[in-house]
């Protein structure tokens, strides 16, 4: 079955304050969607809500992935369905080496979408997890690292600890390459990158692009779209997608800004299907 991510009329709050006010979106495997919009329009919230961040409360709507409504699933279960989020601000976790973490992560994702059964100790399940031999894992990881031009010393460092902004973003892409998601959400992967780092990250994303991978690329600059060509461009404003179009839309936004897309009060805004 095709891996589609379908968002229907999604509303979400943070601390009682509504951020998403009815988002509709469809991302299919093999497609690259750019999600643009001004600061505070709800782009990052959407990514977090799709992954199940408990900070946000979904008040209405549905999220479907691979034919299942995943709204009640834990973040780890969503990830094991091969839904991926490249974070805007990746957390650093001191003392945990990238190598160990990625191996556990890969094992988990390969285990697939099995829910935690009622009353079953989660660590009990882990004992049954098929472990990936370190040697084999190391080869896989180093292949990806070579592809993404990531330095070897990186895998013995602590996760994102002391990484520069560019290193953090590249580490996210490395994880994406390793975990082979079917739909990846990339939250402002271009922010904070200088032009060289931006090129490397873009090259990496292009290298991962293919019929197996759907991408939702969140950005508020058109810049990264010079390197990663989107199939569809969506514009988010005040918690809704107010306009969708082809790649030309990004250039138009670059020229005209976002203000012309501001929805008038009480309306849902203009929606143009690509």
């Amino acid at each position: 079955m095709e891996s589609e991510l379908i968002i229907k009329n999604l509303h979400a709050n943070i601390e009682g304050k509504p951020i998403l006010r009815g988002v509709d979106l469809l991302v299919k495997q093999g497609e690259v969607h750019a999600l643009m919009g001004p600061n505070g329009s709800g782009k990052s919230t959407l990514a977090n809500v799709i992954m199940g961040n408990p900070k946000y409360e979904v008040t209405e709507g549905e999220i479907w992935f691979k034919g299942e409504n995943i709204l009640e699933y834990s973040p780890d279960r969503r990830a094991r369905m091969r839904l991926f989020l490249a974070f805007q601000y990746p957390m650093s976790i001191p003392g945990v080496s990238v190598a160990n973490f990625l191996r556990r992560s890969l094992e988990a994702v390969r285990e697939g979408n099995k829910p935690l059964e009622e009353g079953e100790n989660p660590s009990g399940r882990l004992t049954k997890r098929r472990s990936i031999p370190p040697g084999e894992f190391r080869k896989m990881l180093q292949e990806k690292m070579r592809l993404l031009k990531v330095d070897n010393s990186f895998i013995n460092r602590s996760i994102n600890d002391g990484f520069s902004g560019g290193e953090k973003k590249r580490a996210e892409i490395l994880q994406m390459a390793l975990l082979e998601p079917e739909v990846a959400l990339m939250d402002e992967t271009d922010s904070g990158l200088d032009i060289d780092a931006l090129k490397i990250v873009s090259e990496s994303v292009n290298a991962l692009r293919g019929p197996q991978l759907g991408i939702l690329l969140i950005t508020h600059y058109q810049r990264i779209l010079n390197y990663i060509t989107p199939d569809v461009v969506h514009v988010m404003y005040d918690g809704r997608i107010v306009k969708s179009g082809g790649k030309e839309l990004a250039l138009e936004l670059e020229a005209r800004g976002y203000e012309w897309l501001r929805p008038s009060d009480g309306e849902n805004g203009v929606t143009v299907n690509a």
Binding site: M91, V96, A99, F101, S105, Q142, Y227
Partner: protein, 482 residues
């Protein structure tokens, strides 16, 4: 074979113990003096509003304990097996104390010829009386330090005596274990280490118990380390007693010029623990380092007290403690840096970080500074907090279930301190113990994690490293612009 004393602590029990051991008069007198101090010292009750560890001890039924339970050398299978696990291939010596008796002593022959003495303290009283008289509970941990050190001095039994002559450097670790497998007993294990000028030793002491049931036992131990000119002692202590054991421990090291000590303290077990650890920097240029790790669960209560006592010029001390609490456990940490007026050019640092995994656990951290000199550098820092929900979310978004993600974060929290534990075997077992404690009986994950960690550490990655320069050209990714 001596017989166990009936339960009850009394002056006549002290006399009976000394008689059974056929001790010289001076030791009997020392015990009796200590008993008098114990009787005349008021029971410490702690501060108002503290977490109540001392108060719990004040209500502890000492009179229900037998102060002397000797054991023979035949170790139960469970202890033998655990001993096997603990023994690294290379070691310089081994001592096993079971309840009140030292049942096994081994020392490398070459070290014996060099004059190293490793024996039980009872034998040392008989064979090296002048050394014991000079050092035993005199300046390092004096009898009257606390009510409980006085009790210890009155009833000490078994015990380990290590003497390292001038210039002898013991490379491989000396391993010692104290086992308690008798309910309702009090064990007063004593360790006395004398490291002469320019000598060095790595010493590991483990405290374990192996008995079931509610009836509590007590381990009231004292460790004294005398570090002479430019000598170095590395002392590691892994405390993994059962929840039916109450634990009081006093450790101190005193230094001559340029002497140095490293304390590594790992505390996981016991129902209630009262621990005092000190570095007495009495010699110019002496150095003390303390690395501590603890993990508490159920309704464990710890009171951890450290003292960096700077009494001479150009002394250095660093204390680093990290702990994780869960369930309803409570830990109080009091870290003191004392810089006396003579201790100019001193540097002293202390940090204490705790992570709380449950809503009902409590941690209190009281770092304090007493500075009597003006040319010093001293600082302390303490943090207490919960696991960061954003860190958890990050790991979960990578497919890792919440419970395991918590364990990974805890591992990471401990890792920098574990990296400072010099002995690999101890480090590995400690990692494993922590994971075991967090996930109950599921050991596979602990082993996978630890093995993986170790393997990466041991093998490194360089052997498979791929030079970026030799990257084939056809893998270059072309930029597409539009």
């Amino acid at each position: 074979m001596p017989k166990a004393l009936p339960s009850g602590l009394s002056r006549s029990a002290v006399e009976e113990l000394s008689r059974q051991k056929e001790e010289p008069e001076w030791m009997l007198q020392k015990r009796l003096q200590a008993w008098d101090i114990y009787e005349n010292t008021p029971t410490p009750l702690g501060r108002r509003g503290d977490l109540g560890t001392l108060r719990m001890f004040s209500n502890f039924k000492f009179q229900a304990l037998s102060p002397y339970v000797p054991s023979n050398g035949t170790l139960p299978a469970a202890i033998e097996q655990s001993l096997e696990e603990a023994l690294v291939d290379q070691r310089a010596g081994l001592v096993v104390q079971r309840n009140a008796s030292v049942v096994r002593v081994e020392l490398d022959e070459k070290l014996k010829r060099q004059g190293v003495i490793l024996t039980d303290l009872d034998s040392a009283v008989r064979d090296y009386p002048e050394l014991v008289q000079q050092y035993f509970m005199m300046t390092c941990v004096p009898v009257n330090s606390t009510k409980y050190t006085a009790l210890h001095a009155a009833f000490w039994s078994g015990g380990i005596f290590l003497y390292i002559p001038r210039g002898v450097e013991i490379e491989e670790p000396i391993l010692t274990q104290v086992w308690i497998d008798s309910p309702g007993s009090a064990t007063f294990a004593h360790t006395l280490i004398i490291a002469e000028d320019q000598s060095s030793v790595r010493y590991v002491e483990e405290h374990n118990s192996a008995f079931e049931g509610e009836q509590a036992s007590l381990l009231d131990s004292v460790v004294e380390v005398y570090v002479k000119n430019a000598a170095h002692v590395e002392f590691s202590n892994l405390q993994d007693l059962g929840l039916n054991v109450w634990n009081i421990t006093n450790k101190n090291a005193v230094h001559e010029k340029d002497g140095s000590t490293t304390w590594v303290l790992a505390d996981l077990g016991s129902r209630v623990m009262l621990a005092d650890t000190g570095v007495g920097l009495t010699g110019n240029g002496s150095v003390g380092e303390l690395v501590g790790v603890f993990f508490t669960d159920h309704d464990q209560r710890y009171s951890l007290n450290t003292l960096s006592d700077h009494a001479s010029t150009a002394t250095n001390a660093e204390t680093l403690v990290k702990g994780v609490l869960t369930d309803e456990s409570r830990v109080e940490f009091i870290g003191m840096i004392r810089i006396r007026p003579k201790a100019q050019q001193t540097a002293s640092f202390l940090s204490d970080h705790t992570l709380l995994l449950s809503d009902k656990c409590r941690a209190e951290s009281i770092p304090s500074l007493e500075i009597g000199a003006n040319e010093v550098s001293a600082s302390h820092g303490a943090t207490t907090g919960k696991i960061d929900e954003e860190q958890l979310f990050y790991l979960m978004v990578r497919g890792i279930p919440r419970e395991e993600a918590e364990r990974i974060i805890v591992q990471g929290f401990f890792e920098p301190v574990l990296q400072r534990i010099p002995l690999e075997n101890l480090r590995t077992r400690l990692r494993r113990s922590i994971v075991r404690r967090m996930s109950g009986s599921y050991e596979t994950e602990a082993d996978t994690w630890v093995d993986a960690q170790e393997r990466w550490e041991v093998e490194g990655v360089d052997e498979y490293a791929i030079s970026l320069d030799s990257k084939p050209v056809d893998e270059e990714i072309k930029l597409v612009e539009y």
